[in-house]
């Protein structure tokens, strides 16, 4: 059970992150979702439906966190590399922040497959299973998301 939950944690976090952004609330929603999954796993009849089922639970948990207090924003995500110059590190971090901000500005239905693909490494077909949509839908949303990101990030650079 624990291994299953650990392997699924990224999926749950992606669902929460797509709704709550890079917030501590997303972490909390993930933990809450996994606890719910652990408590009601026996109710799942079709094991094949597990990814979608878990994703839905995580999404509901994230939705219930929307009223939470404003989270602390992480500072740099990674500790600065002492070997790199401060300017390079700053530019890199700033660019990454811009990219993440651009992703968060996407509509949620586009943001979800982006997280699942680029963070969790899921293929489009797997994303379709998780989201409970068709492959064509996922492909279309990804294409639009990437086009939008290219346009936005291209303008900024």
């Amino acid at each position: 059970m624990e291994d299953l939950l650990r392997a699924s944690a990224g999926l749950a976090h992606a669902a929460a992150r797509a709704r709550l952004g890079e917030t501590l609330a997303a972490d909390g929603a993930t933990a809450e979702a996994l606890a719910r999954v652990a408590g009601s796993l026996e109710k799942l009849r079709d094991p094949q439906a597990f990814p979608h089922w878990l994703y839905r639970i995580a999404a509901r948990c994230a939705a219930s966190h929307t009223g939470a207090p404003a989270p602390l924003v992480a500072l740099s995500g990674r500790e600065p590399d002492p070997r790199a110059g401060p300017s390079a590190a700053a530019e890199s971090a700033e660019r990454a922040r811009q990219v993440r901000a651009a992703v968060e500005a996407l509509p949620r239905r586009w943001r979800e497959p982006v997280y699942l693909h680029f963070v969790e490494g899921l293929a489009y077909r797997e994303i379709a299973t998780v989201l409970g949509t068709g492959l064509g839908t996922v492909s279309r949303r990804m294409r639009r998301a990437l086009d939008t990101l290219r346009a936005r990030l291209g303008e900024e650079t």
């Binding site: 933990a31 606890a35 408590g39 990454a96 990101l149």
Partner: protein, 416 residues
């Protein structure tokens, strides 16, 4: 934008949860008893948390039947490298006659004297409650009696910390339940660390409490309590609004400019909790918007994000001598050498804890003049000092910059 996808992958994965975090979530999800799961998932109010803690404490006390071990194991905080073994400390020694002095030493004076609370008699409980500087500490062998006594004296105590001192009644951990209106983050981490818990901050800024072998990381800080001889676990969720947040002035300085400074952390009532000495190096990023602060020579020690939150790794911090500081939400003292002051540009901004963190500087009294001592203070509208900026000397350039950022001095401004 040819390389969008690798860039996207790297940027998004940088904020993805680590394997340790996933493991902790999974472990916690599996390990929560059904009866506790509901409590974990549901919104646990302060009152419910306090009552639950009291019940657990009383139950655990009865379970032990006075059988206490001779030593108490806690995880030390200050100055320890990550991953070090727990430090076994001697039993705490707080007597009822020393209550006021102990609480003063612990929360209002310097770090050295705060150790006094860590030397004590076996099997005693401490209950800290009160308001502002009127915090009281009660100790005794009976937690229930302590709570009753607290309730008589402070029926609406905004701060109520209940913790076990002395040798372990519980197998390995100490119960600490902060019930005040403070937030997660470094302040809470510092406070909990002060109370003997090993506290870490994760890359995402979440506070990690390490209680014994159990690591807890979440947006809501889950206090994992292990009580009873059989090690029965009880878990409680304490809202993340329960720990103090260290807020830091928004700093903007020139590259390579190092500022020795002191962070003084107080709680919402202005009680001095902690102060730390560090060196800030504020650099201006290449994109014009990016600036960060790091400890001089210790790039991972201090970082400041664009929004003004500071992420301060406690283990690397140096503890300064206590300074005479007024009450306030946060006091930041930056000492700028005169030789470097000409290059300094600072935007100083202090926040109040809480929802109004981003409020404007509503009442700033300041004075600056070339070649003179400089001091900037921020007051609340009712005249209470909540922040202070000290510069050893200010030259003409700096004074101009200060005026640019902060406006000219005006009526009511005081020369130092």
């Amino acid at each position: 934008m040819k390389n969008l996808e690798p860039e996207l992958r790297a940027a998004l994965r940088a904020r993805a949860p680590s394997e340790d975090e996933k493991t902790a979530w999974a472990h916690r999800a599996c390990d929560v008893p059904d009866s506790s799961r509901r409590a974990l998932l549901g919104p646990l109010t302060w009152a419910a948390a306090a009552v639950a803690l009291l019940a657990v404490g009383i139950w655990a006390w009865k379970q032990t039947d006075g059988d206490v071990s001779p030593e108490r194991t806690v995880y030390a905080g200050d100055g320890e490298a990550e991953g070090e073994k727990p430090v076994v400390r001697q039993p705490l020694d707080v007597t009822t006659t020393d209550e006021q002095r102990a609480i003063h030493d612990r929360f209002l004076a310097n770090d050295k004297s705060s150790r006094s609370l860590r030397e004590g008699k076996p099997g005693r409980y401490a209950l800290l409650a009160g308001r502002g500087e009127d915090l009281n500490l009660w100790t005794g062998p009976d937690p229930e009696a302590l709570l009753k006594r607290c309730a008589r004296t402070w029926p609406e105590a905004p701060h109520r910390y209940f913790f076990k001192i002395g040798p372990q009644t519980f197998p390995s951990n100490t119960i600490i339940v902060p019930t005040s209106r403070v937030k997660p983050g470094i302040g809470g981490a510092m406070f909990l660390q002060e109370l003997g818990l090993k506290v870490e901050t994760t890359k995402s800024g979440a506070t990690t409490l390490r209680l014994g072998k159990n690591s807890v990381t979440a947006s809501s800080v889950h206090l994992e309590l292990m009580v009873g001889k059989n090690g029965t676990k009880h878990r409680f969720e304490i809202s993340k609004s329960s720990f103090a947040t260290l807020v830091i002035p928004d700093a903007l300085c020139d590259p390579q400019f190092e500022i020795p400074g002191t962070i003084i952390l107080t709680n919402e009532q202005g009680v001095w909790l902690k102060h730390r000495r560090y060196f800030l190096r504020v650099r201006h990023g290449g994109l014009g918007l990016n600036r960060f602060v790091e400890c001089a020579g210790r790039p991972d020690a201090v970082a400041l994000d664009l929004n003004g939150y500071i992420w301060h790794k406690l283990k690397r911090a140096e503890v300064d001598e206590a300074k005479d500081a007024p009450r306030g939400q946060l006091l930041l003292v930056l000492e700028v050498p005169a030789a470097q002051a000409g290059a300094a540009r600072m935007a100083f901004r202090a926040f109040k804890p809480g929802k109004d963190d981003d409020g404007p500087l509503d009442n700033v009294r300041h004075v600056w003049k070339p070649g003179k001592q400089f001091q900037l203070r921020r007051y609340t509208t009712d005249g209470r000092l909540i922040a202070q900026l000290d510069l050893t000397q200010v030259d003409t350039v700096t004074a101009k910059i200060m005026r640019k950022f902060l406006g000219p001095g005006g009526a009511g401004h005081k020369r130092r």
